[in-house]
């Protein structure tokens, strides 16, 4: 893919004994929405933070807009950051409560020396309108707003530098369905208007199905399946993806749920990470870790059974 906006390969991160992310690779095209799903602790947030270089990878390459981020100087990396912004899960914790909404939204522009203070104030007005907040909101503080409104403020802040990529880590998980719908609509509108690419993290498979073009399914720090959303939802190829889709509310549940608990990321099994819960595991899975392989163009699965 020549016009990839983000290209990640062999990305790994360990915190002491904990292998949070192992050998993760994926590509996000311009204007595309790429979803990461997986259970709690599977490494979704760590992957997001690695992509933004908020944490240093133990290994791996991140190419953003054609440049290897590891080779950039501190200053060049700082400048590159204006093209990638982040929205967090917790609309309560992620905004500094002592700053006004105007200050919060203007801050990223100040950091990146965009415009003068008059221009920045004007731009704050535009951004408020864009995310559907009243002009009067600018002089108020985060605690005066509801969860959904705070997430709009976070989105306005993320948009302030006109980024090409927004990394959204569970942006609607703390919201009720009716508020969630408002925020998802907003993200779709903005994406269309500005040609934004989104790295969208969620554990809600309904939301991911609704939002994403392509998805990666993570289990214990690795990507077990990656490909076009429609293909994966219609015919999941990895046994974990299948179990995940079959357990999701709103989808007709088939068969018995998976047995067993998720192993600890500090004490990984040899062989396939999923073997302890896999209904189809056989001897090879206990000693040989399956490598991701293509089962269709741009659809990869890490499972011995996907080999044909």
């Amino acid at each position: 893919m020549t016009d990839a906006l983000l290209d990640v390969a062999g990305l790994s991160k360990s915190f002491h004994q904990v292998h949070a992310v192992r050998d993760v690779g994926f590509t996000i095209g311009r204007g595309e929405t790429f979803g990461i799903v997986g259970e709690s602790g599977s490494g979704k947030s760590t992957t997001a933070r690695l992509v933004l270089r908020l944490v240093e990878p133990t290994r791996g390459v991140i190419r953003f807009r054609g440049q290897d981020l590891a080779t950039l100087s501190k200053e060049a990396l700082r400048r590159e950051r204006r093209h990638m912004q982040m929205i967090f899960q917790d609309p309560f914790g992620s905004l500094n409560g002592r700053m006004t909404i105007e200050q919060l939204i203007a801050e990223p522009m100040e950091v990146h020396h965009i415009g003068d203070s008059v221009e920045r104030r004007r731009r704050v007005g535009q951004l408020l309108a864009e995310v559907g907040l009243p002009e009067a909101a600018r002089h108020r503080f985060p605690h005066e707003f509801s969860g959904g409104q705070r997430q709009r403020i976070a989105i306005a802040r993320a948009l302030a530098t006109e980024p090409q990529l927004i990394v959204a880590d569970e942006p609607v998980s703390a919201l009720d369905v009716s508020v969630q719908a408002q925020v998802l609509n907003l993200l779709l509108d903005l994406q269309q208007r500005h040609g934004l690419a989104l790295l969208f993290i969620s554990h809600d498979l309904r939301v991911v199905e609704f939002m994403c073009d392509r998805i990666a399914v993570m289990y214990l720090g690795t990507v077990v399946e990656e490909g076009p959303k429609a293909e994966i939802y219609a015919e999941p190829r990895h046994p974990y993806t299948r179990a995940l889709l079959e357990s999701a509310p709103g989808r007709a549940r088939k068969g018995a749920p998976l047995k067993g608990d998720i192993p600890s990321a500090a004490n990984l099994p040899t062989g396939c990470v999923f073997q302890s819960r896999c209904p189809r595991a056989f001897d090879r899975c206990t000693h040989e870790a399956p490598q991701p392989r293509a089962v269709a163009p741009s659809h990869r699965v890490a499972c011995h059974l996907a080999e044909e």
Binding site: E39, S40, S146, G147, G148, D176, V177, S178, V179, Q180, A181, Q182, L184, N185, L188, H203, L205, R206, V207, E209, F210, M211, K229, Y233, A243, L244, S247, A248, P249, G250, R251, R253, A256, P257, L258, K259, D261, I262, R277
Partner: protein
């Protein structure tokens, strides 16, 4: 099922709380009845009063709360009991699974200690017997026998295991009713499915009645017999969860259903409910949903009573009767 004597019968339950110097209603005129083996869901958005209803039923409302109405457990009125009697009856008759296991399991007591304490207090079992029973219960909820979980502490367990321990504790005194307050929201869907499966099995095996609290109508549709939809402290609709999803009659229920993203309509616009939930103390007069309702008119200034619409009970002057497309 429903012609058996109900395990739990709640009539006109109201709860008010003291907020900045005045009593503010939080739950109003809620009624429900749950028969043996039946699972009833309490559904609604954050702050609508689900947990408060549960806390009133088990007799643990926040300090200063005023609770009125009738709560009967196996025919016995609970609201007139002394707090001590109430704890005894409730401790045995009702098991409770909390929203967040970390806040309700003790961090520095072993799992075995916590379980045997409850068994000794509620069933007067000698320590030895209580410990054996605790071991049995942990196996019963599918925790690995080979692990010595009685001597383990909460922080050594995964989220799914903690939730299983909570369930084991909730059923330890052979309750007739289990109240589960969002027991699976913190869990991965594959683990969530395991926990639901377990609760469903208990229902069939021991005729356990269940009040299941959730904000997700689709989750409860899979295993609950009836759903009560709440909005701003009020019961706005009650019916089978499938009916609520497929043929919602209250415009609020309809709004909730429309807001859920669905397969096949990817990247079309969702339809959120306009406006916001009113805050406590400033509920509109009459129908509380009226300022956000597309069907609102003058009549809505008077509070509607619950009335039967098709197969459901609905509190609305202008209920919907058609199917969701």
């Amino acid at each position: 099922m429903t012609d058996q004597a109900p395990i739990l019968e709640v009539r006109d339950l109201s709860v008010s709380l003291p907020i900045s110097g005045r009593m503010v209603p939080v739950v109003t005129d809620l009624s429900m009845s749950i028969s043996p083996g039946e699972a009833v869901a309490l559904v609604g958005e954050s702050g609508c009063g689900k947990s408060m209803t549960a806390r009133a039923i088990i007799g643990l409302p926040p300090p200063g709360a005023v609770v009125s109405g009738s709560i009967r457990l196996e025919g016995r009125e609970l609201t007139t009991l002394s707090p001590r009697e109430r704890r005894r009856v409730g401790g045995r008759g009702i098991g409770f699974i909390f929203q967040e296991p970390m806040t309700s399991l003790h961090p520095t007591l072993s799992i075995g200690q916590q379980m045997t304490d409850a068994l000794r207090y509620n069933l007067n079992l000698p320590t030895r017997v209580a410990r054996d029973r605790a071991r049995e219960l942990l196996a019963r909820v599918g925790l690995p026998k080979e692990r010595d979980l009685l001597n383990a502490y909460v922080h050594e367990l995964s989220g799914g295991m903690r939730q299983r321990v909570m369930i084991a504790m909730a059923i330890s005194c052979n309750p007739k009713l289990v109240i589960a307050d969002e027991p699976t929201t913190a869990l991965d869907v594959t683990i969530q499915a395991q926990v639901l499966e377990l609760l469903i099995a208990m229902r069939a095996e021991i005729g356990l009645a269940m009040l299941y609290i959730s904000h997700d109508l689709e989750v409860v549709a899979e295993f609950c017999d009836r759903a009560i939809v709440m909005y701003a402290g009020d019961q706005v609709e009650a019916g089978t969860p499938v009916e609520c999803l497929k043929m919602p009659h209250h415009p609020y229920t309809r709004g909730l259903v429309d807001a859920i993203p669905h397969a096949g309509e990817a990247r079309a616009r969702l339809s959120p409910i306009p406006g916001q939930v009113p805050s406590l103390g400033s509920w509109p007069r009459g129908c509380r949903f009226q300022p956000r309702c597309p069907r609102q008119d003058d009549r809505c200034a008077t509070r509607p009573e619950l009335a039967t619409v098709v197969r459901s009970e609905v509190r609305c002057w202008h209920p919907l009767v058609g199917e969701v497309s």
